[in-house]
């Protein structure tokens, strides 16, 4: 489709892109944006499938479960805490707590690795990205939550609820222990209300700023009282619940939290808020006119606010494939990193110094958005320091993993990972690279054009590449070139 967004008539903007307008270019755009990277075989498949079938094919339900050794840690941590509570000696007791904390931190590292693994596998990557989007709305931070079991539960819930109607999703997440801890729901009681959660529910999760009053927040907060975390589990305490009448959006009743969520979804802004967030995350940061957003919201409401309906609508719409919505989005560090892994058939390394640490240097600390608003994104992803980290990360893809300089624990972790089912290489060796790129200059240029760059870079870009390669490029030249392409401004766009 070669039409800019503004030229599509408003009433047609969310219509499904016509089959005649769907080709490899559109398929590729879908794969890069809805997922992390487009591979030649999936481009072909997606071209044949068409946009609607793609939304089914690439979003197959797959719960995000933790491997046994992570689940075991949950019990181990609880046991250590129990021992601590039973121990009288102060010094000994804090030793138990310290060990529990240490294992907690390691376990969070492990869960992060599992998430990166889920994202890096093409069969789960699309779902992982959609969950990442929802986690950028329903934000939690690992440094506040600190409890690995809750963090795992939160991500599992994201994987299970991400196709449900959004009101049901909201009700479920208002009971997620990680959310309860992050937004102080467990401090919210009849006598001492805490408005933190209610405020974010209205402002950042469902309606957006300016679509509620301070009074609505106060009253809504009362409906979420009595929710506690007891023995790691979510519990409701009727005694602490404020069962009096509340008036939310001018409706008075003995509302519960769930009632309040239903009331919020009767506000018109609930129709447009999440779709706007999705557009911002997936499509464009340029403002879209209010009538267009309203139309999208109305269509979504007709489909009972189903999350799968929202993504289907978005990813099949003519707007999604508008010419000015392609190749102009700066990849987030996670998109840059996971996309690169996928393009070379790699998997993340299970050591934080090689995975989450570089991500943090690039400006995106996994499971820890800067605040409850989530990541800022866009141009904020790039400055001199973050750019250096991206360049470094690109070069690392082709560097040998320094096993002989590794600590014994780290070596063991690497070995363990290699023995897992479906494990993939961590790094690209030169001969493996050459089998992907080919060895002649025209082959290499085609590889870069078709498999690395989503953006149709101008011809001078490919001219530079051809000049660099010369007639008979060496393996080293090809490797340097591929690294430089991954470092290029063009590759940072999708």
């Amino acid at each position: 489709m070669n039409v800019p967004l503004s030229h599509i008539p408003t009433l047609a903007v969310w219509e499904t892109i016509h089959r005649d307008d769907w080709g490899p270019v559109e398929a590729r755009h879908f794969l890069e944006r809805a997922g992390f990277a487009a591979q030649p075989d999936t481009i072909e498949e997606a071209t044949d499938l068409g946009p609607e079938a793609c939304c089914e094919r690439f979003f197959t339900p797959s719960p995000f479960l933790q491997p046994p050794w992570v689940v075991e840690k949950f019990t181990e941590i609880q046991d250590l805490r129990q021992q601590a509570r039973k121990t009288k000696d102060k010094e000994e007791r804090s030793e138990f707590y310290r060990e529990a904390n240490q294992i907690s931190r390691q376990t969070i590292d492990d869960i992060e690795h599992e998430w990166l693994l889920r994202a890096s596998r093409p069969e789960t990557g699309f779902s992982a990205k959609w969950e990442l989007f929802l986690s950028d709305v329903w934000v939690i931070g690992k440094r506040t939550v600190r409890e690995p079991e809750w963090i795992a539960s939160y991500w599992k819930a994201l994987s299970e609820k991400s196709s449900e109607p959004y009101p049901e999703f909201c009700k479920a997440f208002s009971r997620e222990p990680a959310m309860i801890r992050y937004l102080d729901v467990d401090k919210n009681s009849k006598n001492k209300p805490n408005e933190n959660f209610a405020r974010e529910l209205l402002e950042l999760f469902i309606l957006g700023e300016g679509n509620y009053t301070e009074f609505d927040i106060k009253e809504a907060a009362r409906a979420f009282t009595g929710r506690r975390l007891q023995n790691q589990q979510y519990r409701e305490y009727p005694k602490q619940f404020d069962d009096g009448t509340k008036t939310v959006f001018s409706r008075t009743g003995q509302w519960t939290g769930d009632n309040v969520i239903d009331l919020i979804f009767q506000q018109p802004a609930s129709r447009t808020f999440l779709p706007s967030e999705a557009i911002r995350f997936y499509l464009t940061r340029e403002p879209i006119t209010a009538d267009r957003i309203k139309l999208l919201g109305d269509l979504w409401a007709e489909e009972d606010f189903r999350l799968d309906a929202l993504r289907r609508r978005l990813f099949t719409s003519r707007a999604f494939y508008a010419s000015d919505c392609r190749g102009n989005r700066i990849k987030s560090p996670i998109e840059f990193y996971i996309g690169t892994l996928q393009r070379f058939g790699l998997q993340p390394i299970p050591l934080r110094q090689y995975s989450t640490r570089p991500l943090a240097e690039m400006g995106q600390e996994l499971f820890e958005p800067p605040n409850v608003r989530g990541w800022i994104g866009g141009e904020a992803w790039i400055n001199a320091g973050k750019l250096a980290a991206r360049r470094q990360a690109a070069a690392e893809v082709f560097a040998t993993l320094p096993m002989n300089r590794m600590n014994a624990d780290d070596k063991r972790r690497i070995e363990m990972e290699r023995e897992r089912d479906n494990s993939a290489p961590f790094r690209v060796k030169e001969d493996e690279l050459l089998s992907l790129t080919g060895t002649t200059a025209p082959e290499v240029v085609e590889f870069i054009r078709n498999q690395l760059l989503t953006v149709t870079a101008n011809e001078s870009f490919y001219q530079e590449i051809s000049n660099y390669l010369g007639k008979n490029p060496s393996g080293e030249t090809i490797e340097d070139l591929v690294i430089t392409v991954l470092q290029s401004p063009q590759y940072q766009l999708s």
Binding site: A380, I382, G385, A388, Q392, N407, A408, E464, D480, L481
Partner: protein, 411 residues
């Protein structure tokens, strides 16, 4: 959001014009990178050229302190380490009952010349034995159970160097990854000079520049990316020039650490206003066959430090620079079954410079321990940071360290 002031109009135009005429980067470099332009236009005063500089030398992996500063008069030492103890005859004494191994003969020389302080038993309460976590504690200067996530050096920058935009990076690291000492919530001008040769970051810098110029006329955000890239590449260029043009007259040994310190020397000599440099030597995780491995590493450290100090003295820059080592933890006093040592706790460290009082601070470690017991720290590492901050960098330490720590009489 991205600060649009970073893109002065003239610079934008220059980029477009240069790109349009297909000029090379040399023409472009007539146009200063945007932060240079910005600093100049604001007329900000250049900071004091003779300001104190700190060089951090990280010994990664956990250096075994007992075989570095050896308590050779304590029989327990020899009992705890039947195979890996350093024989008495091979020890270079420095003070009351402690000495250095032969591999540290250069450090011994520095000590004799009064340019090296040795701090005994440095650590922190509730020691953590995970490499990553313990290093994080040292680099963020946090409590063992605290989850602080900004580096102590970046907090120093926030407290002491805030305000005027600075052309030169405030901190430079010569390691592959950015060290956590520089981690910050805000944008800080930190530069990674891993190996700023042409292919320092992998890939090809000239080609990357061409790619970047190719987008200089593009629409946003490509234009923004192009501009940021060209800035970053200009900095690479500048540091590259400094390293090739400010050669030292002093012979450095052939080792990675020596190369890093030689580069630090060149950058200091060039008059960069960078206040903190970070270099690293790794491989200290000696669980087995420790003897040779650690000797080689200590030799590399020792020789590189002496060469660096000599280099600074030759150019009379030594009064401006303080260098200190640190490691995430020491190792277990009792050797293990594989002629190595396991993760431990407190350890000695070195502070070098013409300004230090060459002395041994603190007592030899107490080695009457339960079976496979650990050392107890005597000096909190944040006491050293407080000393360096206040007595060297002239900056109040409490806001940086989040608490008050006793200073040490080493400067």
């Amino acid at each position: 959001m991205f600060d649009k002031r970073f893109l002065p109009r003239t610079t934008r135009r220059e980029f477009i014009r240069a790109g349009g005429k297909g000029l090379g980067f040399l023409a472009l470099s007539q146009v200063a990178p945007s932060f240079v332009t910005r600093a100049a236009s604001l007329g900000s005063p250049r900071p004091d050229k003779d300001a104190p500089i700190l060089v951090l030398v990280q010994l990664a992996g956990g250096n075994d302190g007992l075989n570095t500063v050896i308590p050779f008069e304590d029989d327990n030492y020899y009992n705890l380490r039947p195979t890996i103890a350093v024989p008495r005859k091979d020890i270079l004494p420095v003070a009351n009952g402690v000495g250095l191994p032969q591999s540290c003969s250069d450090l011994h020389r520095l000590f004799s010349d009064g340019k090296l302080s040795i701090l005994q038993n440095v650590g922190y309460p509730n020691p953590n034995r995970s490499h990553f976590r313990s290093m994080e504690i040292w680099e963020t200067a946090s409590d063992s159970d605290d989850m602080a996530h900004t580096g102590w050096v970046s907090r120093y920058f926030d407290n002491a160097c805030a305000g005027a935009p600075e052309i030169d990076p405030k901190g430079i690291y010569l390691t592959g990854q950015a060290p956590q000492v520089f981690d910050s919530d805000e944008f800080l001008n930190i530069y990674g000079a891993s190996s700023p040769a042409k292919k320092g970051r992998g890939g090809d810098r000239d080609l990357l520049r061409e790619f970047s110029l190719g987008e200089a006329q593009g629409a946003e955000p490509a234009h923004f990316l192009s501009h940021t890239y060209l800035d970053a590449l200009a900095m690479d260029e500048r540091i590259g020039k400094i390293l090739s043009q400010n050669r030292s007259g002093v012979e450095y040994p052939q080792s990675q650490l020596a190369r890093s310190l030689k580069n630090v020397g060149s950058m200091i000599r060039s008059g960069l206003h960078t206040r903190v440099y970070f270099v690293s030597l790794s491989g200290f995780d000696t669980h087995r066959d420790q003897e040779n491995r650690q000797s080689q590493l200590l030799k590399e450290l020792s020789e590189a430090l002496l060469a660096f100090q000599t280099d600074l003295e030759t150019d009379e820059l030594d009064s401006q620079v303080l260098t200190m080592t640190f490691s995430e933890f020491g190792r277990r006093p009792q050797e293990n079954e594989s002629k190595g040592t396991d993760h431990g706790t407190a350890a000695p460290l070195f502070v070098m410079g013409s300004a230090v009082k060459g002395s041994v601070q603190g007592n030899p470690p107490k080695l009457e321990l339960p079976k496979n017991g650990d050392l107890t720290h005597e000096t909190d590492f944040r006491s050293l940071y407080a000393t360096v901050l206040e007595d060297w960098l002239k900056c109040p330490s409490e806001p940086v360290l989040g608490g008050s720590f006793d200073k040490l009489p080493i400067l």
